[in-house]
Every structure is written in C-alpha cells, then in structure tokens.
C-alpha cells in the first residue's frame, strides 16, 4: 500500500492508464467464488445427487463458506475499493472498524450463548 495517494485518484489514472484488465480478472474470480459457494450449498444439501462429494463437503461447509466470503470481501476491498494502492490511513480506518465489528459479533454471540446455556434464555417466540 502506498502512502502517497493522489488527491483525485492514483498517479497512473492521472496518466490515463486503464485498470480494466485487472478489474475483469477480479470480477471473474468473484464470480467463480460465488459459484463455489452455491455449489457447496447444493452438494452438502443433496447427498442423493452428489454422493461422496456431499459427505466430503458437509463437515466443512460452514468454514468453507466463511473462507470464501473473506476472500471475496478482501478482493473487493483491495482492488475495487482501491485499498491496495490507497493511503494506509484509509486501510487502518477500515481494519479498525472491522476489528471492533468482529468483537461485537463474537461478544454478543458468546454472551447470549452463555446466558442461554445457564437457564436465562433470551425472549423467544
């Protein structure tokens, strides 16, 4: 990541260089990762059709989806949102927020899980 981001964009943009090729490559990767997510869903939910493959995917289904999501998230952030080439300050603003967000998600899940397992279930209907 470069600290010398131009105010109105990146230097190569100012010189009229196109990033179309990179954007297309990232677009194709994103499409493939989404297709993999749906395939993993179909395979793990239809053991009759996918046989042994279903048994292989089912135990790692949730971690697999999380890894694929993180990969897509990172690709969009780095290339489409230009964090790869922009100022480090912007990356840290985003990473700092993501860390707090992750703490909020995990904290709430652990806390409510603890309460639920100790006889104090949340209000359910």
């Amino acid at each position: 990541m470069a600290d010398t981001a131009a105010l109105a964009g990146h230097d190569d943009h100012a010189h009229g260089t196109s990033h179309t090729r990179t954007y297309v490559q990232i677009g194709v990767i994103l499409a493939v990762l989404t297709a993999l997510e749906v395939f993993a869903y179909e395979a793990s939910h239809n053991p009759g059709t996918y046989g042994a493959l279903s048994g292989l995917i089912a135990p790692v289904f949730v971690p697999l989806l999380l890894v694929l999501s993180v990969a897509k998230f990172a690709l969009v952030g780095l290339y489409y949102m230009h964090l790869k080439d922009d100022s480090n300050l912007l990356s840290w603003v985003f990473i700092f927020s993501l860390v707090i967000a992750l703490v909020v998600v995990l904290g709430l899940m652990v806390l409510t899980g603890y309460l639920y397992n100790h006889g104090m279930p949340p209000l359910v209907r």
């Binding site: 105010l7 109105a8 990033h19 954007y23 997510e37 100022s87 967000a101 998600v105 949340p122 359910v124």
Partner: protein
C-alpha cells in the same frame, strides 16, 4: 483560521494527502461496519431460536438470491469500470458502465421487494417469529442502503448525461462507488450467513 486551514478549505487539499470526502466516506463506512455487525449479531443470536414457523428452510429460494448476488457483484464491477473510464475522460464508456450499475441496483432492489412479498404470502412477518423479525431487519436495512446507493449513483449518472462530470470531479463518483462497494461487501457476508448456512 490558520493559513493551512484556509488553504484546506479553499483547495480541498488536506495535510493528510487524502481528499476530505474520501476520508469522510471511509469513516462513514467504518461506522456502517458496526451498524451491520450489530444486525448480523442479532440474526445469529436468534438463529434457530424461533418456536413457530415459517423457518428458513421453508421459504428461502436460493436460485433467486444467487441471481441477486451475481447482479450486485456485477454492479460493483460496472461502477469500478465507470470510474476508470471517467478518470480517462472516456465519457461514452463511463455513461454505459454507470448506467448498467444503476440498472443492477434497481434490479436488486426489485428482487428484494419481490422476495419480501413472496415471504409475507408464505406467512413470514416481522411479528410472527424471531427469524422473521431479525431477517427483515437485517436484509431490509441492506435493501434500504441499496436503494439509497442507486439513487446516489442515479443522480451522478444524470450529471454525466448533462456533461457535468469530468476527471476533475471524479471524486464525486469515487465516493459514491466506495459506498456502493461497501453495500456489495455487506451482501457478500449476508448471503452465506443468512441464506446458505440455514
């Protein structure tokens, strides 16, 4: 006001080397991370706790949502191409890519309206069970963000058609594009967490 401050106000060139609007939109995106983290947490906390139906497996239609996901990913691709073209002052391509982005936004919002109507007909309401309440809150807020983003990009598209956009004010499209990418990134999380891990 100091000389530096006056300089910043007049020329939009802060000492950080980052455009004010760009830093502002990233800070806003940071706050939005926390907003959606809270909503996703609530969905996950209440997941599987509903005592009455309908349940996720009864109503979700994966092919439709997959199409919506693909459309949103394509829109991110289109808007980054529009920005790239505008920076090169290729007005024709910028208009085409931005027009396609707006169309994708309209399609996704339409898909979500159709989906919500379909779910209500199947008995899933905000008041019915915890799944309904947390699902509609999470995806509804995301849909609202999509609608606002479409409106934002739509106004820039109109400016572009009027010939008011150039490489000099490409920052206007860049900030809107960053917001749009964030909306896409949130869906990248929501799609597997809500629809696939049921």
């Amino acid at each position: 006001m100091s000389a530096v401050a006056i300089h910043e106000v007049e020329h939009d060139e802060p000492v950080t080397g980052i455009h004010h609007r760009k830093l502002a939109i990233w800070t806003f995106i940071g706050s939005e991370c926390l907003f959606f983290a809270s909503l996703i947490s609530v969905y996950l906390v209440y997941k599987g706790k509903s005592l009455t139906g309908p349940f996720p497996k009864d109503i979700f239609e994966i092919p439709l949502v997959t199409a919506g996901t693909a459309i949103l990913l394509f829109s991110s691709f289109f808007v980054v191409l529009a920005l790239d073209a505008l920076r090169r002052n290729d007005q024709t391509k910028a208009k085409i890519w931005l027009g396609l982005t707006v169309l994708c936004g309209i399609f996704f919002a339409g898909m979500q309206v159709y989906e919500f109507q379909h779910f209500v007909h199947k008995g899933l309401t905000m008041q019915g069970n915890l799944f309904g309440a947390s699902f509609y809150t999470l995806t509804g807020f995301h849909g609202t963000h999509v609608a606002l983003g479409t409106l934002w990009l739509g106004t820039i598209f109109i400016q572009m058609l009027r010939g008011e956009m150039s490489p000099k004010n490409a920052i206007n499209l860049e900030t809107a594009a960053l917001y749009w990418h964030f909306v896409d990134v949130v869906w990248i999380v929501i799609f597997p967490v809500v629809y696939l891990m049921n």
